[in-house]
């Protein structure tokens, strides 16, 4: 780095217009204020103000654009920005983790692309070029990758997009099938909430349920038959399916996972085409999610937990949204030689897991039922739920399994939404055994394996091992962590 890198390149001029369009909605929010302010002036005055305002914003955007420059040097990329106070950021090639190209619908219309340079710091946008022409984006990425490969001492290859072996890809039928599994009434609820937000624009009020039903009663005149109810339910179901399919299609259309020297590259998306590279050494563990329905067909979703938690998905990246086990094997193998467990080696947790679940999950319902029974004797019928809870506890215990094979810990949990964690033991940071009072009574322990980038809601913990097994397993894991790092 003998001479300073010159930052002499600008973003694509069209990005001024793009930014302008993107900021338009928030700018428009200022209009009502303007209207009130100019209440007594004439309407022509208002339009003049709006024009002046619009031109001023455009001018500011142009100045910001003209003061944003970047350049690629021998060992770094330099980004200079700022109108009044100048900021010069230099990112050395060896610090660069990923270079992503992202294209939203507007970008694709204009032939532009957003380039994101990630350095593995905790923050989000360490290097964001919004936006370049697609050709320049490709050139820049190739240059950065080549520079990084050179500086990090890895075998350097220019852009190997064409030759990268594809590990997994989804054709349209598979994406549609995946959409069917993503059926959810949750989005319907979302649509309803949205309607509620904008209800002042609707010709009817949502709260007026009584009125609605009144209407319905008038019209139907007592024809509120099981058939109509079934039709309404069917319609809701259909809407749920359609929203699920549409969402999945938008996200996973053209899903493609390829192996590159830099890591695993994933492209997906119908409207917004996103591309990310997951560096192999940042993969902490693999997670396979198999809902009860997917399991029936032998399908599942494969995700990798990565070190960066700043992305959507809480540090978890889907690398195969819907795949058969045989299709997951090459992906797992490519990612640090992970493997699927032999079903036979997965052991169940202690039988007392069921007892604990009953003790901790049925007590509250029982109390509620008892309290309700004082008022309404019929509430005693609620006791019929208790066998269901017990059954659920038994089923959950059957699904909760674990195994330690060589240097990998497998943990499976959940019956309805089953998860299987594949944890290379090298990725464990601490091991913790927990014993609550109930667990002590039953001779149980929970083993917690802490990994980087995990969310506290879903981590590979093994709940309710018998205390001896837990201690033995923790010791075995600790023993493996003692070995010097390879």
């Amino acid at each position: 780095m003998n001479e300073a890198t010159v930052a002499d390149r600008r973003l694509h001029p069209l990005s001024i217009g793009l930014r302008y369009l993107k900021n338009l909605p928030s700018t428009l929010l200022g209009l009502p204020a303007l209207v009130t302010f100019l209440n007594d002036q004439g309407i022509e005055y208002f339009f003049v103000m709006v024009m002046v305002f619009g031109v001023a914003v455009l001018l500011i955007n142009w100045i910001v654009w003209s003061r944003f420059q970047y350049g690629v040097g021998a060992h770094e990329i330099v980004i200079e920005s700022g109108v009044i106070s100048r900021n010069r950021r230099s990112i050395p090639f060896e610090r660069i983790q990923d270079v992503d190209i992202e294209r939203g619908p507007l970008e694709r219309l204009l032939g532009l692309a957003k380039v994101r340079i990630e350095t593995g710091g905790a923050g989000g946008d360490e290097g964001l070029l919004d936006s370049l022409s697609l050709a320049e984006a490709d050139r820049l990425r190739a240059a950065l990758r080549a520079g990084r490969a050179r500086d990090q001492g890895a075998p350097g290859q220019p852009d190997e997009t064409a030759t990268a072996p594809v590990l997994f890809a989804m054709a349209v039928p598979r994406v549609l099938l995946s959409g069917l599994f993503n059926f959810s009434l949750l989005y319907l609820a979302g649509v309803f909430a949205l309607l509620q937000t904008f209800e002042q624009f609707l010709p009817f009020r949502l709260e007026d349920w009584g009125q609605w039903i009144g209407f319905a009663e008038d019209r139907l005149d007592g024809r509120f038959t099981p058939a109509t109810i079934a039709a309404v339910l069917l319609l809701a179901l259909l809407l749920g399916v359609v929203t699920g399919v549409a969402r999945t299609l938008a996200r996973d259309y053209g899903f493609r996972l390829a192996e590159e020297p830099a890591g695993l590259r994933r492209d997906r998306g119908l409207f917004t085409r996103t591309e990310i590279v997951i560096p192999k050494r940042r993969i902490q563990l693999a997670l396979i999610r198999r809902g009860a329905m997917k399991r029936l067909f032998g399908l599942g979703e494969l995700l990798f937990q990565t070190l960066s938690a700043d992305r959507e998905g809480g540090g978890k990246q889907s690398v195969a949204p819907l795949a058969y086990e045989a299709e997951m094997l090459p992906i797992l193998d490519a990612a640090n030689r992970m493997r699927l467990p032999d079903k036979a080696v997965l052991l169940q947790v202690s039988r007392s897991h069921v007892l604990k679940a009953i003790a901790s999950h049925t007590l509250v319902p029982l109390l509620v039922i008892a309290a309700a029974a004082v008022m309404f004797p019929a509430a005693v019928l609620g006791l019929a739920l208790v066998p269901l809870l017990i059954l659920a506890a038994i089923v959950e215990r059957r699904a909760h399994r674990f195994a330690l094979v060589d240097d990998t810990l497998y943990v499976q949990r959940g019956w309805w939404d089953q998860k299987l964690w594949i944890v290379p033991i090298r990725q464990a940071h601490t091991l913790t055994l927990l014993r609550s009072p109930i667990q002590r009574l039953l001779g149980l322990s929970t083993l917690l394996v802490d990994t980087a980038g995990a969310s506290s809601l879903s981590d590979p913990r093994i709940v309710d091992l018998s205390s001896e097994t837990a201690t033995r397993l923790a010791d075995a894991l600790a023993e493996k962590l003692r070995r010097p790092a390879a």
């Binding site: 940071h429 091991l431 995990a454 962590l481």
Partner: protein, 153 residues
């Protein structure tokens, strides 16, 4: 496995007493506010709160102190603590990112220090071992630091 320095017991007692005093003050305040509106005696809230505080303030610290155990060999630190929920943690030295030895004013008065191990994990990214003598804490820290350096090379 060794226990903590006796000074830590006093640190824990004082911490519990401070928390107890704060809770009691809040209760007294609430009681006074309530007394304005309703004909309630001063003890209506304070007395039950004080009763509830007897165990955690007077006896809790002793039990919690006694529950702490730690042991270190040349590769890992093992800690166990907790009265209601018992926790046993293993921290391999090779996983430690950085180490702090810290001392609050009360801890300084009783000659104890806290060793804080930071790992790259999520749930347990900080493992705290309180109640060490300053010398022990520093010895442990230096020992672990050697491992961090080795791991980097």
């Amino acid at each position: 496995m060794t226990g903590l320095e006796p000074g830590q017991l006093w640190v824990m007692r004082i911490h519990a007493a401070i928390v107890g005093a704060v809770v009691l003050t809040v209760a007294a305040g609430a009681n006074a506010v309530l007394a304005v509106a309703l004909p309630v005696p001063m003890g209506a809230i304070v007395a039950p709160v004080a009763l509830l505080l007897v165990y955690p303030v007077l006896f809790g610290p002793t039990r919690r102190f006694a529950a702490w155990r730690y042991g270190a060999d040349d590769q890992e630190l093992r800690i166990r603590h907790g009265v209601v929920i018992q926790v046993q943690t293993v921290v391999p030295f090779g996983r430690v990112q950085h180490i702090d030895v810290s001392q609050g004013p009360i801890e300084r008065a009783f000659g104890v220090a806290r060793l804080v191990l930071h790992t790259a994990g999520t749930a347990n990214s900080q493992v705290v071992l309180p109640g060490l003598s300053r010398a022990t804490a520093e010895t442990l820290r230096d020992e672990i630091r050697v491992h961090i350096r080795q791991d980097l090379m």
